[in-house]
């Protein structure tokens, strides 16, 4: 039994191993191109979302109750509603209601960017209010105004808390781009599915190899981010204790 199983497995490998489809034709380039689409959408969303999030986070420490409520609502909207629903909302509903035709990539950058801004605003707010009150008093006693307190006291003393959380979020955004196939963006998973469909007859086991490869690609991109975030977190903790 066991022997014959091994035997048949090796026959399949020998005959026409599934992994070869990764390197057939321009499949590899297409997969990497798909990855690039995913990463660049995530990158653009971060580039727009992070500065917006920093501003919103800084506004959230002001005492204005209306502003606080509005920004809180904004955060909760993006936190409670699944990212997929937000993508659909932006992709199907908004263009129809507003009569604008936008491609999936742009929609994805906007939707992810607003999501990033919401999450970052919470990271920034949390970090800013972690700065001890007596440090703020010390700044006030030197005559600083609100912006000076933010720039010279709060931000420098909380940035080491913000950076690891931001990198973790970046990894999450990259992983969440796997939803993009649902709004017809040719991301790495869409490409993978196209390859599998094209080779369904010749390589029934292609799903294993293609998804395995996609897994590897995501891993290569996200794992270093996770490592950097962890190292920075550890350093921030040590510095706070020291």
């Amino acid at each position: 039994m066991v022997l014959s199983a091994i035997d048949s497995a090796s026959t399949v490998l020998a005959a026409d191993a599934g992994w070869t489809i990764l390197f057939t034709g321009d499949n590899l380039t297409r997969l990497l191109g798909g990855l690039w689409t995913s990463v660049s959408i995530a990158g653009l969303a971060l580039v727009f979302g992070i500065p917006l999030g920093v501003v919103l986070g800084a506004l959230r420490i002001l005492r204005n109750p209306v502003l606080r409520a509005v920004l809180r609502l904004y955060l909760e909207f993006f936190r409670i509603i699944p990212t997929l629903v937000i993508l659909f909302l932006f992709y199907y509903i908004l263009p129809r209601e507003m009569g604008v035709q936008v491609d999936g990539e742009t929609i994805a950058v906007v939707a992810f960017g607003l999501w990033v801004a919401a999450e970052i605003s919470d990271v920034v707010r949390g970090a800013l209010i972690s700065v001890p009150e007596h440090q703020i008093d010390a700044g006030k006693a030197l005559g600083m105004n609100g912006l000076q307190l933010l720039w010279y006291v709060r931000l420098p003393q909380s940035i080491n808390l913000m950076v690891p959380a931001t990198i973790n979020l970046a990894a999450r955004v990259i992983m969440t781009t796997s939803l993009l196939l649902l709004i017809s963006v040719i991301d790495v998973i869409t490409v993978g599915q196209q390859i599998m469909e094209a080779n369904r007859m010749a390589h029934p086991d292609s799903a294993f190899w293609v998804y395995g490869f996609v897994f590897l690609l995501y891993f290569i991109v996200c794992w270093p981010l996770a490592m950097i975030a962890r190292a920075l977190e550890k350093r921030a903790k040590e510095r706070n204790n020291g």
Partner: protein, 259 residues
Amino acid sequence: MADSNNSVSNDEILLSVRHLKKSYGDHEVLRDISFDVPRGKVFVLLGPSGSGKSTLIRCLNGLETIQGGTISFKGEPIDGREKTWRRLRTEIGMVFQSYDLFPNLTVAQNILLGPTKVQKRPKDEVERQMDGLLADVQLSEYRDAYPRELSGGQKQRIAIVRALTMNPELMLFDEVTASLDPEMVREVLELMLGLAEHHMTMIVVTHEMEFARRVADTVLFLENGVILERQSGHDFFTHPETDRAKAFLESMAPISDGE
């Protein structure tokens, strides 16, 4: 101490407090506090913990909002708006109990921040003043050190230098030696005595009785948010008028080995 151009003068009232009231919700912390601080004088606020002295000193540069009464600085009643306080805080220096140097900045950057960024004074002028003050307190070698490299006493002296570099006309000290190791208390108190000798106007909250006796022109004894007794520094310690002040002084007296 480098030239702190405070001339001893004709009883000009620098800071005046009238009927000050401070409460947190229903809890009254300060009730009807009034006093005048003439330029060049040192006022020491004494009292048991919870008497409201720290709250009072924080009211004097607007870190706490007041619920009644007026505070006037150089004859100008302060309207209580944050903007007004911000302007006055560059003239009223304050040093706190906890070390409040900015940990991410060097000693020099800590000192230069207020004068150059808030007061917008030219950097080289401020640097010259800073170097002079650092030499006075014998901390020149720590100019480029970070606060974590300093002892508690050194940090407090730098915090005082940081406040002085703003050229304040009034200095507020809120229990600045309370969290120091005993062997570091002296260096900070000596620096403050030096300031007093140079006629810096000071309001000091402290638990160091010997220091208070030496430095105080006037002692205000607070309890439960009221000034129970005001006396010259000398008289307060030798002839306290109220029983409460007597009891307080006894409780603060060093432990003697039973007669």
